[in-house]
């Protein structure tokens, strides 16, 4: 009879589904420099979410109204020409960057930056905002678009990032999602997402190159696709190379001509913003036409400029060649010759530039594949992966770290702990030692990049391992462990091996937000931040409690015979109580009932262990032993 009850409880569907949104789909987001796209997938059928005009692209442009509210997308793009001081675009180029990085991106910047430490801040409509907050506004708009169309609350997303994004930029992206009230199920590299979408759609098999040139970033990934496995062999890129740089090149050319006519001019940030729109117009026009005429108007002076495609190509050549050189390196890293590449998938709006297509075609000795929508394929891949993570999938994405990770050693030299193109997740440890007698602390400086010297690489974080007991120089053994998770995010731990003194830090990048800043922003951005937090903790408690219940059911199902009827019904009572607690919304009640269940099943657990051991020793469980030794 009890058996019956048990089986009934165990029946799928019997356990209540208490929290709403359990079957809500997670969305896929391509958070681009120029354009963003949101998509969703159901039954491996992805769909881009469009506006009433059928447009999937949402310009990654944000305008701030006087009351501080954000306007995102096409409207903001239009406001750029009228009220440039309230509008910001290409903010992705600043993710995880400090002031000095930003100044080195290019000569004429469409940003008014605030002097200061840590992550760069922008002056906009009289406020100071970080790129993380601005990105969060874009993500919020995408989330709203999805919620409007799907008619349920969206809380989870897969967000794509350039494969070549460093740890700081990845962390910044995740922080932005948190501010927007989105849980990031996974950060997926843009070319990998594109390959997933393309590969599934075209049933592609073999080695493919994905060449992704967008507005602000360039990636090249070499992947092997086979029977549902998408394995990245090598990847490379430039997180500050894209169509924006073409626009800049054209603008500089025009400005040079103006200088000849009007002499030296001082440009405000707002002038630059507007002039860059003209630069881009000229560039896009030259994709179709051999030449075009354009007008610049500021400082009360109007100038006319003519540019031919040949001239544009001359200006763009150094930029395109930079990408081609990266392609060569990635091919070499992937131990692959161009003619071994079965197809080249073009992604990103800038691959429409004829010069880009020509040079890519020449390098790989083949016509690049154009049978995809280069603007939407990344979001489609993100949506497919979002479905895979929530609903399940037979496909497997195996990615790599784009950049080597190391720590500073004597003389400012970087010792690499994890090499670039290592499959992730990965953990590697290296031992270092003290160099002074009695040294009680050791500074650990974490770096990312390929160069030999510290100052040529990106500084990710610094921390100090304290409490090393006095020893002679060279006697301490300090083991530094680097772990990179499936999002490509790094955690570093340090331990003195002989004494076990240890410290673990989730790397908070030098140009990231501090925990306090993040907390403040969360408070400001979400009126219901506290409630949201409570809901999350409750959800977590439920998930954990369900796991515990499932484990006990399984154990009862297999080893129920080890209990007498009284004991069994006693456990059943507790199980039922836990079930009730899960249906309620007091997470403390859930947690304490889990503890009760744990306590009340201890004897049972011990009997099961004893039985297992007895069987193993008497050889009953030969199969299991065979499995263990792998015959």
């Amino acid at each position: 009879m009890i058996e019956n009850v048990l089986l009934q409880i165990h029946e799928p569907g019997e356990t209540p589904v208490p929290h709403a949104g359990d079957d809500a789909l997670a969305i896929g987001i391509d958070l681009g420099t120029t354009n963003s796209v949101v998509a969703v997938s159901k039954g491996e059928t992805p769909e881009v979410l469009r506006d009433e005009n059928g447009k999937g692209l949402v310009p990654s442009v944000v305008a701030y109204a006087p009351d501080g509210s954000a306007i995102v997308g096409n409207l903001a793009k239009q406001l750029l020409l009228m009220r440039p001081e309230t509008v910001v675009s290409s903010v992705k180029r600043l993710m995880g960057r400090g002031l000095s990085d930003v100044k080195s991106i290019s000569g004429t910047l469409p940003f008014e930056v605030v002097e200061g430490e840590g992550m760069v801040r922008l002056k906009l409509a009289g406020r100071e905002l970080t790129p993380v907050e601005i990105s969060a506004d874009i993500l919020r708009a995408l989330k709203e678009r999805a919620e409007d169309q799907l008619k349920y609350k969206v809380e989870q997303a897969v967000i794509t990032v350039p494969a070549y994004f460093d740890d700081a930029a990845r962390t910044a992206t995740k922080d932005a999602a948190r501010l927007a009230g989105l849980e990031v199920l996974r950060l997926v590299n843009e070319p990998t997402a594109a390959a997933l979408a393309y590969g599934l759609d075209q049933q592609a098999e073999g080695v493919y190159a994905v060449y992704d040139l967008g507005g602000g970033t360039f990636d090249l990934s070499l992947l092997r696709m086979e029977k549902g496995v998408f394995q990245v062999k090598s990847t490379g890129g430039d997180a500050a190379l894209g169509g924006d740089d073409f626009d800049h090149a054209i603008l500089e050319y025009f400005l040079e001509q103006r200088r000849e006519t009007f002499g030296e001019e001082k440009l405000t940030t707002d002038d630059v913003k507007i002039a860059l729109v003209t630069g881009r117009m000229a560039k896009e026009c030259l994709t179709e036409n051999d030449q075009g005429d354009f007008v610049l108007e500021f400082n009360g002076k109007t100038s006319k400029h003519t540019i031919t495609r040949a001239k544009f190509e001359e200006l763009a050549t150094p930029l395109v060649e930079r990408s081609i050189e990266i392609c060569r390196n990635v091919l070499e890293d992937g131990d692959t010759f161009p003619d071994e590449v079965k197809g080249v998938v073009l992604v990103g709006g800038s691959t429409r530039v004829p010069l880009v297509r020509k040079r890519v075609g020449e390098l790989f000795g083949q016509e690049p594949l154009a049978d995809i929508n280069p603007d939407e394929v990344v979001a489609v891949g993100a949506a497919l992966q979002a479905e895979a993570l929530t609903v399940g999938s037979d496909n497997l994405l195996l990615d790599v770290t784009p950049l080597s990770l190391g720590i500073e050693t004597m003389g400012g030299i970087v010792e690499k702990v994890i090499q670039r193109n290592t499959p992730i997740p990965v953990a590697k440890a290296q031992e270092f030692t003290t160099y002074q007698d009695g040294q009680s602390a050791m500074a650990i400086h974490v770096l990312q990049g390929e160069r030999e010297m510290v100052d040529q690489n990106r500084s990710l974080a610094r921390f100090i391992l304290k409490g090393i007991p006095p020893m002679t120089a060279g006697a301490a053994r300090i083991k530094v462990t680097f772990s990179v998770d499936a999002d490509g995010l790094l955690t570093v731990g340090a331990e003195e091996v002989t004494t076990g003194v240890s410290q673990e830090v989730a790397v908070k990048p030098s140009y990231g937000l501090s925990d306090e800043e993040m907390a403040d922003m969360l408070r400001d951005s979400m009126v219901h931040a506290r409630e949201d937090m409570e809901i999350r903790l409750l959800t977590e408690a439920r998930v954990e409690a369900k796991r515990v219940m499932e484990a006990v059911y399984s154990a009862l199902h297999i080893d129920g015979k080890l209990l007498n009827e009284d004991e069994r019904s006693h456990i059943n009572v507790v199980l039922n109580k836990l079930d009730e607690a899960i249906a309620g919304d007091d997470r403390h009640a859930i947690n304490s009932m889990v503890e009760v269940l744990d306590r009340e099943t201890q004897t049972f657990a011990q009997r099961r262990m004893d039985k297992g051991i007895e069987e193993a020793l008497t050889g009953i469980d030969v199969k299991k032993l065979e499995n263990a030794i792998g015959s």
Binding site: L185, L396, P425, G612, I613, A616, A628, I629
Partner: protein, 213 residues
Amino acid sequence: MDALSSNMTLRNDQSGLHPCWSCKGPVAEADLFCETCHAVQPPGHIDHFARFGLHNSYDVDVDGLERKYFELQRHLHPDRFAKKTPKEKSLSQQQAVTLNEAFEALKDPLLRADYLLKVLGADGISHDHTVNDPALLMEAMETREALMEAESVEVVNDLTMKARRDVRDCVKQIAKAFADQNLEAARKLALRLKYLTKLLEETRQHKARLVMK
């Protein structure tokens, strides 16, 4: 209570079983999932070969190894645990990390030789910077010179082909040395393989420079 639990530990050691972290039932060291409650387990303390169900042997069918690697990743990769509890997520990451490490160590003939030497209690070759095999040194010098002087792809191709053949022979000899349990010979051959691998890398770079110019 104390006596009982220490008694249990003792018996655990003999049976190779320990309690599942989730349902507390018995699981073996190599188990990826608990047989009872199907919870993912921490990576067991087993060597890389055992992780792929292989015996400690240098002879590894790399294609088969890779198939097994994909199959295991299909079950263990963190992407399969996005909806699970934090504890399970963390265990899946540990499993995937260990699997990646094992796969990297076994698929490459050089790393595999190094690893097997260590498993068998001999010195590996990874930290050996000095080569005191005069014949090998001579060969290395001559080949490098030939490579430096090569100015056509054909010449580099010839050198590459030779190096590839040498690698294949060397790998065979290493397998034989291991099969004969001659670790000293295996180690010496592994050092030669290390040099050949580096040479192949250099020919590849040299060719890339010639081809892409």
